[in-house]
C-alpha cells in the first residue's frame, strides 16, 4: 500500500517538473498562437547552460540558476523579435517549419559541442535526500522543491496575467491583436515580452531537469511531447490547468513504470490519448469563444 502511495507522490512531484516544462509552451501558444517545436530543445539547452555554469565554471548553484534564467530570457526576446515574429500572422506552417529547423540546429549543435554522453549537475546531498512522513512514505526533497518552485512561478505568472497592465495587454493581444494595436500595443514587443516569460520558465525547467536527472543532447523532443501533453490534458488557456495536466501525466507515468519499467512513458501517452478521446478540450479549459 505504502508503495503505491509513494508511487503516486512521485508522480505528483514529477508533475511539478512537467508543469514547468509546459508553462512556457502555454504562454507562447496563449499569446502568440505559436507552437515552438524547438521548445524541448531549448529546455535541454538550458540544462547544458546550467552544466557549463555549475560544472565547468564552478559557479554557485543559485547564481547559475539566476544566470541561466537571465541568459535564456534575453535569448528568447531576441529570437522572438528578430526571428519568430517574421513568420507570425500568416499561414500556420511557417512558424512550425521554422521552429522545427531550429530544433534540429539546437540539437545538433549541442551534440557537436558536448557529444552524446549523458550529463548531470551535482547539487550535493539534496539530490538524494528524502523526507520521511512516517508509515514508510518518503518524499524526495529535490522533487518537492521543484514542485514548490513550479507552483510559485505559475502563481506569479497567473498574477501577472490577471492583474498587471502587461498581463492585460497579453490577454488583449491574444484575443484580438489587431484591435490591441489600435490601443497602442506594439505587437512585436508584446510577443517578445511574452517569450521572455516563456523562456524564463524554460530556463527553470531545464535547470531543475538536470538537477533531478541526467540529460543528453537528443532529449529535447521527449520534453516537448511531455510539455505538449500536459497542456492538452490540462486544457488550453489555463496555467493552473497546465499544472493539473502535468500532474495527471506524471502520475500516469509513475503508475505505468511501477507496473512495468518499459511501459512508464507509454502509459503517459495513453493517458494523453484517452483524455484527447474523451474530453478533447482538456480538464480545465478556459479559452473563450471569440
Amino acid at each position: 500500500m505504502a508503495e503505491w502511495i509513494n508511487t503516486i507522490v512521485q508522480g505528483v512531484l514529477l508533475g511539478g517538473l512537467y508543469a514547468l516544462f509546459a508553462a512556457g509552451l502555454s504562454i507562447s501558444f496563449g499569446v502568440m498562437r505559436m507552437i515552438n517545436i524547438a521548445h524541448g530543445d531549448m529546455i535541454i539547452l538550458a540544462s547544458y547552460a546550467a552544466i557549463v555554469g555549475a560544472s565547468y565554471l564552478k559557479l554557485p548553484m543559485l547564481f547559475t540558476v539566476v544566470l541561466v534564467v537571465l541568459v535564456l530570457s534575453a535569448l528568447g526576446y531576441g529570437a522572438q523579435r528578430l526571428v519568430f515574429n517574421r513568420t507570425l500572422g500568416g499561414d500556420l506552417l511557417r512558424p512550425l517549419l521554422l521552429t522545427f529547423g531550429l530544433s534540429i540546429v539546437i540539437r545538433e549543435s549541442l551534440q557537436a559541442v558536448f557529444s552524446a554522453d549523458v550529463r548531470s549537475v551535482d547539487v550535493g546531498p539534496i539530490a538524494t535526500a528524502t523526507w520521511n512522513l512516517g508509515a514508510q512514505i518518503n518524499i524526495g526533497v529535490l522533487p518537492l522543491v521543484v514542485m514548490l518552485v513550479g507552483l510559485a512561478s505559475i502563481a506569479a505568472l497567473q498574477w501577472l496575467f490577471a492583474r498587471s497592465r502587461m498581463g492585460r495587454s497579453f490577454r488583449a493581444t491574444s484575443d484580438d491583436a489587431d484591435t490591441a494595436s489600435l490601443m497602442g500595443v506594439d505587437r512585436k514587443h508584446i510577443y517578445a515580452l511574452a517569450m521572455v516569460f516563456a523562456s524564463a520558465m524554460v530556463a527553470l525547467a531545464g535547470v531543475f531537469l538536470v538537477m533531478r536527472t541526467t540529460v543528453s543532447p537528443t532529449d529535447g523532443p521527449a520534453r516537448l511531447i511531455y510539455a505538449f501533453e500536459a497542456v492538452i490534458i490540462g486544457g488550453l488557456g489555463s496555467l493552473w490547468g497546465t499544472v493539473a495536466g502535468g500532474v495527471v501525466l506524471g502520475v500516469a507515468q509513475a503508475i505505468g513504470s511501477r507496473l512495468d519499467p518499459g511501459w512508464g512513458i507509454l502509459a503517459g501517452h495513453l493517458a494523453f490519448l484517452a483524455i484527447l478521446w474523451v474530453r478533447p478540450q482538456g480538464l480545465f479549459p478556459t479559452t473563450r469563444e471569440r
Binding site: 501558444f29 505559436m34 517545436i37 513568420t87 517549419l97 549543435s109
Partner: protein, 326 residues
C-alpha cells in the same frame, strides 16, 4: 489542357530516366544501384510529406511512425509468416493505411499546430508498443535477411530497384494525377481556405482523411522496402525522427507545395550529403540553418526561386481560365 513545351520535354526526359534506371541491373554497379534505391525511396517519402503538408495543409511530424510500421510489417509477414519480402511491400501499405485510419479520429481532434505534435505522440506510441512486444523481438531488433533468402543476389537487387522505382516515380505520378483530378482541385481549395471550401460543399474532413491515409500507406511501403535493404529491423532506427527530418529538409529546400520541389530537394539533399557528410553534426546544422533561412526569407524554396524567373511548370497542375468556348 495541353502541357507547354518545357513540360513535354520534362516528360520525355522523365520517361527516358525511368527506362535508364530500370535497366540499371544490366549496366550499373551494385553500389550505384544501392544509391539509386536510396534516392528513389527518399523521393517517395518526400512526395508523401509534401502531399500532407504542402497540399493537405497537414504538418505531420510523425510519419516515421508509418515508416516503422512498414518495417515491422516486414518482420511479421516476411520473417514470421514466411512471405516473400517483395510481396510484403504492398501489404505494408495496407498496414500503414489501417493504422492511419485507426488513429485519424484521435489526431484530427487537434488543430493546426497541435496536430503536428499529436502525430509525433502517435509515432512514439507505435515505437514504444512495438519495442515492448516480445513477439516481434522488440527492444534489440531482429534480422530480416531470411525474407530475401532463396533468390539470387541479382534477382534481389533488381526487384529492390524496380520496387524503389515504382515507389519513387509512382508517388510522384500519383500525386500529379491526383492534383489534376477533381479531388486535387478540392485539395488545393482546402489548403487555401478551409472555410470557403466548406461553404462550397467540399467535404474537408473526408479529403484530409484520405490524404492522411494515403501518405501513411506510401510511407509504410517505403519503410518496408528500405528495411529490406538494411536487413535488420530495430525499433529505434525504424521509428527514428530522422525519417521526418529528412523529408522536411528535402521538401522545404526544394519548395513546399509543388511537385518539382521534392525532386529538386532530393537531388540537393544527396549532393550535400556527398560533399558535407564528413563534417558530421555540422552537415545537419547547415541543413537546419538553410531551412530556417528559407522559411524566413524565401518560403517557396529552390523551385519557387526558379519559378520567379521562369514561368515553367514541369508538372502542369495549375488550372487556367481559358476564353469561353463559343
Amino acid at each position: 489542357m495541353k502541357p507547354h513545351p518545357p513540360a513535354r520535354i520534362a516528360a520525355a526526359i522523365g520517361v527516358l530516366a525511368i527506362v535508364a534506371v530500370a535497366s540499371m541491373p544490366w549496366w550499373a554497379e551494385r553500389s550505384s544501384i544501392h544509391l539509386a534505391v536510396e534516392i528513389l525511396a527518399t523521393l517517395a517519402l518526400a512526395q508523401m510529406w509534401n502531399l500532407l503538408a504542402g497540399y493537405g495543409g497537414l504538418l505531420s511530424v510523425g510519419q516515421q511512425g508509418f515508416v516503422g510500421l512498414g518495417a515491422y510489417a516486414l518482420v511479421v509477414f516476411g520473417l514470421q509468416m514466411g512471405l516473400n519480402a517483395f510481396l510484403v511491400i504492398p501489404l505494408a501499405g495496407l498496414v500503414g493505411a489501417l493504422a492511419a485510419a485507426l488513429v485519424a479520429p484521435l489526431v484530427f481532434r487537434l488543430g493546426g499546430a497541435h496536430f503536428a505534435i499529436g502525430t509525433w505522440v502517435v509515432a512514439e506510441v507505435f515505437r514504444l508498443v512495438v519495442a515492448n512486444l516480445p513477439f516481434v523481438s522488440g527492444g534489440s531488433g531482429v534480422s530480416v535477411a531470411k525474407t530475401v533468402m532463396g533468390m539470387s543476389a541479382a534477382t534481389r537487387t533488381s526487384l529492390t530497384l524496380w520496387w524503389a522505382l515504382a515507389l519513387g516515380a509512382g508517388a510522384t505520378l500519383a500525386v500529379y494525377l491526383l492534383l489534376r483530378s477533381r479531388w486535387g482541385l478540392a485539395l488545393v481549395a482546402v489548403r487555401d481556405s478551409e472555410r470557403a471550401s466548406r461553404s462550397l460543399g467540399i467535404r474537408v474532413g473526408r479529403i484530409k482523411w484520405a490524404v492522411w491515409v494515403a501518405a501513411a500507406a506510401g510511407c509504410a511501403m517505403t519503410g518496408a522496402l528500405l528495411f529490406i535493404t538494411k536487413l535488420r529491423v530495430a525499433p529505434d532506427p525504424a521509428f527514428s525522427i530522422d525519417w521526418t527530418t529528412t523529408m522536411f529538409f528535402i521538401v522545404v529546400i526544394g519548395g513546399i507545395g509543388t511537385l518539382e520541389g521534392p525532386i529538386i530537394g532530393t537531388i540537393v539533399y544527396f549532393l550535400l550529403r556527398q560533399w558535407l557528410a564528413d563534417l558530421g553534426s555540422v552537415y545537419l546544422i547547415t541543413l537546419g540553418v538553410i531551412t530556417m533561412l528559407i522559411m524566413l526569407f524565401f518560403e517557396r524554396g529552390l523551385w519557387g526561386l526558379w519559378l520567379r524567373w521562369v514561368r515553367w511548370e514541369l508538372f502542369p497542375v495549375r488550372r487556367r481560365l481559358g476564353p469561353p468556348r463559343t
